[in-house]
Amino acid sequence: MKYFPLVWAALRRKPIRTLVTFLSVTAAFTLFGLMIGLNDTLHQLEARAPANRIWTVGRFGDRAMPIAAAHRIARLPGIKKVSVMSYLNGYVGDPKNVAGALMADDVYGDIFTDQLTPEGWESIRRDHTTVTMSRQQAEHFHLKVGDIYKVIAPQSVRADGTNVWELKVGHISEDVPQVPNGMVAGSYDYYDRSLPLAKQGTIAEADSIVDDPANAAALSKQIDRLFANSAHPTQTTPEKTLYAVNNFFGGMNVGALTHGIALIGLLMILFLIGNVIAQSVRERRAEFAALKTIGFSDAKLIALVAIEAALPCIAGALCGVLTAAALSEQLPKVMPRTFGIPPPVMSPAVYMLALASAFLLALASAALPALRLRRQDIAAVLSGRA
């Protein structure tokens, strides 16, 4: 610590160079933060998916199942609770302004406690004609509590022959990470009652809680076997499998992709920092020779060079990840709402990894100049012969 003024003086000797080095490190670590943060966020989503929840949908396309299927699932041993829902799919105003709602029964909120707040679910249960919106969705449609959310749903024609659904916003709740694009939820009961009699009694999804998470996969298979030869074959998937990281970018290898891009950024600044340090050491050979003369050990000199490299790296890494965090907060504004990819969140793990990488980067870039320093001939340098 007592040598800090020495390092500080070295950094201030060429302030522009230090500043520019810092800025380029910041840029590289902004990218690093976004990439590693995204990877980390997707892994957290997978980790957070409850192991005891399984989803059953129609096996082919967007087919509806009869609600009786849910009752049969509920009777299977090992199934604790089953809820059902349908989707109201449509648009607001223009067909390109995709809109809709998840119309869930009263049990759904007990099973998906992580998708909306308890107050949000409670609000729907109290008044089946209302919807609860997450803040993101409410902002997108410019709606507040008490407003009417008017969805035109060509696939859900009402009993009165129209396809216009006017749903009152009963509650607005905070967004949750598990539902990256926010959600709108209403009541299945109301939805079903509003359809013509012939269309009533179908569901889009039956979601279950199993007694033992270890049985989730086996029970999923059992459900699908149950309906395999029926008029409505099912596709049942444990939520853990559904949220597997590689399911996000169309099956691309997310880990390799994000790490690859982050590494290229680091490779780029490795060259830059290495050169800056080499140059700085070259320019101050006399100074280092003098330090050696007054008794500084090689190890100490190398440490001085390493710290000189590490300071802008570590400061830049911190700033970069902070910038990445600020940028990803803006992401939901530009991401298509149907994209389904969560904006990256910078967890402490991302910061730690960034700092560790910055430190390694500094060591790697200081290695060559430091070694050259060790080999240098003091007498030659001081006498101006080298």
Partner: protein
């Protein structure tokens, strides 16, 4: 002295001393190579996907979907309406004189991706009587065509690349049991990664009672307006009519906008890093050449000539880096087959894309070299000599 001549002389002098600054200069080369490499890699993906989506199917075809739909799966055309659409005047005739139009369904069949066992969905599309005729590039590669009325499918030649269990002889699980793949086909477009079966047989099996789309080839391109009017003004129908290329563009628009934002976002961040690297390098270069520059000024060379020579050097290094990055991206990506979701397509690195990235390289050099070049231009003889 002529300005241009000055610039040439000063620049060539600078380039001759470049060898002494080799390692420093590599900062620019490596930095820009990274930027262009990553940019081109990502663009090749987006461009490949986009081109594949645009070139899907026969461009002479027109498609009919339920009104307001931008994807085919939610579109539903009842049988009675389909019969009207299939026989609208203006449709070209097949050899037997029947209209060259076909109603079909498509659905997703759950499967596993070959690459990492992630959950995947292969598209099952159906052909009616004219399905094959509407796709002139369609040809069987191995095995035979499915027989209408039997539980048989054919698979595109690229399906096994993305999905497990989709090769000739494999069995696909559909509601009525296992359907063997009796043949493989190629069309040269996205259909090559899909399954195809007989329309009525598949509909019966998956219990669809409505078609998703009707595709037709018109007798002449000019018949389109009348064809569309006939359908959109018919009170029984609630449909949209589009030329297939327009329909393809509509579906891929939203996603590709975001892809481009992500691609350029990542590249801009990288480019900012490279720009600072360029700034540092050129600044150091100007400093180390201070003696030389002072001498040139004393000899009467203008500041502008010196500034331009600094920018030229930066641009040259940057373009060299850009070409290296582009060559690597081109060698690794161009023509490579890849899969994304249900689609299999080839990555594209076109000369136009390489041109764009070279422009990026030049922009990085000019922005990064600007301040150092001004610094060099303002260097007076006494400053430079004092700096020694």
């Amino acid at each position: 002295m002529n300005m241009l001549r000055q610039i040439v002389i000063v620049s060539s002098l600078g380039l001759r001393t470049l060898r002494q600054r080799l390692w420093q200069s590599l900062v620019i080369v490596v930095g820009v190579a990274c930027v262009t490499g990553v940019l081109l890699f990502m663009l090749s993906m987006a461009e490949g996907m986009h081109q594949a989506a645009l070139n899907y199917g026969d461009p002479r075809s027109v498609i009919v979907v339920s009104r307001g739909m931008i994807f085919e799966n939610p579109s539903a055309i009842p049988r009675d309406q389909a019969r009207i659409i299939l026989n609208v005047p203006g449709i070209a005739r097949a050899q037997d004189g029947s209209p060259l139009s076909d109603a079909s369904v498509s659905t997703f069949v759950p499967t596993e991706l070959r690459r990492n066992n992630a959950q995947g969905f292969i598209i099952l599309r159906t052909f009616g009587k004219e399905g094959q005729a509407l796709r002139p590039t369609f040809h069987l590669v191995s095995g035979r065509m499915f027989r209408p009325g039997t539980h048989e499918l054919i698979a595109g030649v690229k399906a096994p690349f993305q999905f497990k269990g989709m090769a000739l002889g494999d069995k696909v699980i559909l509601p009525d049991g296992e359907w063997p793949i009796v043949g493989t086909f190629a069309t040269g477009d996205l259909l090559d990664a899909q399954l195809v079966g007989d329309t009525e047989t598949v509909m019966q099996s998956i219990r669809h009672n409505t078609y998703n789309t009707v595709t037709a080839r018109l007798a002449s391109p000019s018949a389109f307006a009348a064809f569309r009017r006939a359908l959109t003004t018919n009170p029984i129908l609630a449909v949209d009519v589009m030329r297939l290329p327009d329909w393809n563009a509509l579906g891929s628009a939203g996603i590709s906008d975001f892809f481009h934002l992500a691609i350029y976002g990542i590249s801009v961040i990288l480019a900012i890093g490279a720009l600072f690297g360029c700034f540092n390098t050129m600044y150091a270069a100007v400093e180390s050449r201070s003696n030389e520059i002072a001498t040139l000024r004393a000899l009467g060379y203008g500041g502008l000539a010196i500034a331009v020579s600094v920018l030229l050097e930066a641009a040259m290094l940057s373009v060299a880096g850009g070409l290296i990055g582009a060559s690597i991206a081109w060698a690794l990506c161009d023509g490579e087959q890849t899969g994304f979701g249900s689609d299999v397509f080839t990555l594209i690195v076109s000369p136009a894309m390489i041109g764009t990235t070279i422009l990026w390289a030049i922009a990085v050099a000019l922005l990064g070299g600007l301040l150092p070049s001004i610094q060099a231009a303002r260097w007076t003889v006494s400053d430079a000599l004092r700096a020694r």
